[in-house]
Amino acid sequence: MSMNRGGRPTSAQGGGSSDSPTFTGNRALMIEEPLLFEVGDISKTGVDLDEPEAHDSRLGSLARSEIGLPGLTEPEVMRHYVRLSQKNFAIDAGIYPLGSCTMKHNPRLNEKMARLPGFGDIHPLQPQSSVQGALELIDTLAAWLLELTGMAGVAMSPKAGAHGEFCGMAAIKAAQLAKGDARSVVLVPESAHGTNPATAALLGYKVRDVPAREDGTVSPDAVKEALGPDVAAIMLTNPNTCGLFERDIVAIADAVHEAGAYFYCDGANFTAIVGKAKPGDLGVDCMHINLHKTFSTPHGGGGPGSGPVVFSDAIAPYAPVPYVVRNGEEFTLVETAGAAKGAKPFGRQTAFHGQMGMFVRALAYMMSHGCDGLRQASEDAVLNANYVRAGLRDVMTQPFGDRVCMHEVLFDDSFLKDTGVTTLDFAKAMIDEGFHPMTMYFPLVVHGAMLIEPTESESKASLDQFIAALRDLVRAAKGNDKERLTGAPHHAPWARLDETRAARQPVLRWSPEKPAEAAE
């Protein structure tokens, strides 16, 4: 079996490995895994099919003699994917403190519920009379989301956070156009998620930045200054990406509404305030909810995501189809505009009704926790982030001073000043310690940002180990052991990958002829 090295990492293998090479290149149970194309052989197959009977081909010149797909036996396929999965790092394997991503545990009860035949084996084109239970579940989940957010309406169909942002902003645009009030600008604070300005731009808006004040939050005065008759909306994340609660959110909402604009809240960080504050009480007009963050459905490769959007009274009529309507004990999926009284949907975003499997998991999470449990999960998430903050504040530096954070704690790289060690080195060294790195270099407003979100899933014991490991890395960075960071990871299957070359010269297609040549 020959290994095609085209597009493979070029740097040396992780340290420790080179001391005692093995014959195969494998390291005990860590197998050097080739690509499927290199495992397979066109002569092999996993199934024994009858030879096709002689027939007149109607493909003509379109027929190809070779299609270049690898042939593999079933054991080869199984081993390939199991080996790849063993190289994966997941929330089920260890701490995954990726800030602003809320990588919390995915309870197995959720999985069990999603596999019930009445939810798992149904088809979106079945007659509605045969899927009443599924429609009731969507309606029940919608009611929970409205209760938790204090909002008037909800669209369940968006399939991810950014999809939800688009839904909410499209509804805002429709509401303004319906009043004959076309506006051209959306305000976005500097610390926003990158998807916010992208959403605004996709809908044809110009983006106007709102600078943050010294303490990392948005000031109502800065918003008032940026507001004008051309401003359609503000897109604000609360708690923001610095892990701080926007304490002037009500004043900001009032100013926005006074100027005839609407308030879109990015709900990516909703996990910090569930059961504590309702966005509806804060003056929010639209907010997407990442079920795959706040409500524990899988993501980060294990998805799919799901991003329902909640609306205020003013925007709710413009929510897209389809949606579920309850009449007594009967549930109907409304598919067309005008079918419900007063509804003026802006359109539809999805072929069907959304991520049914994620709806089941999210509702299972909510019902198994109950209202008190959801509130406690938020409290524990905030407590854990502050426990990490308190455990590291004397050796790492916080950009906005030592103050209570929400569900994530933000450090900058000033504690690494003059050490020659960067945020990237620090993140790579965390891999050696068996942790997924934190979010790095985001938010952009903070130099060398390190954003840590432990979530409520971690026990005190695992947080203590995490804190102790990070303290030890800081000691190494400031002492005579810098190579432990600048050369990290030393113990991963591959050492430092060439991210720049991967971005500049991506090899997107495997080719047997010219393995070494990079595709432009």
Partner: protein
């Protein structure tokens, strides 16, 4: 003789008559890290001061290059599209982004010269 001007957004303007050659400073490329992608405007585009003129993307971040002054894009540096790494190698030389025909040279009045920009960078770090 060309005159150098600098903005607080770490852009430089090499002004020669009414045409300014615009790029990002050495300090800016250091902050961005390895540049992997550059998007340039069409020649002929008319930019208002502060309007987005180009986009630069590095392994760490994506950033807009806003037109530091109003004018019409008369030339772009297509070398950057095939070799974005030039921004790291020669930011204030071969890796200029656009040449802008200035519509109002008085917009340059408040900008920093090399000495003032050097001080500005020193104060920031």
């Amino acid at each position: 003789m060309a005159e150098m001007k600098y903005t607080e957004d770490h852009e430089y303007l090499r002004v020669d008559g009414d045409v300014a050659t615009i790029g990002i400073t050495n300090h800016a490329q250091e902050q961005l890290g390895d540049v992997v992608f550059v998007e340039l405007p069409d020649v002929g585009k008319v930019c208002a001061k502060g309007e987005e003129a180009a986009v630069v993307e590095s392994v760490k971040a994506a950033a807009e290059i806003n037109a530091p002054a109003s004018g019409e894009v008369v030339e772009t540096n297509s070398d950057l599209e095939s070799n974005p790494g030039l921004v790291n190698e020669d930011p204030e030389g071969g890796a200029w982004f656009i040449k802008l025909k200035l519509s109002d040279k008085s917009e340059l009045d408040g900008m920093m010269d090399a000495e003032a920009y050097g001080k500005f960078v020193a104060e920031q770090s």
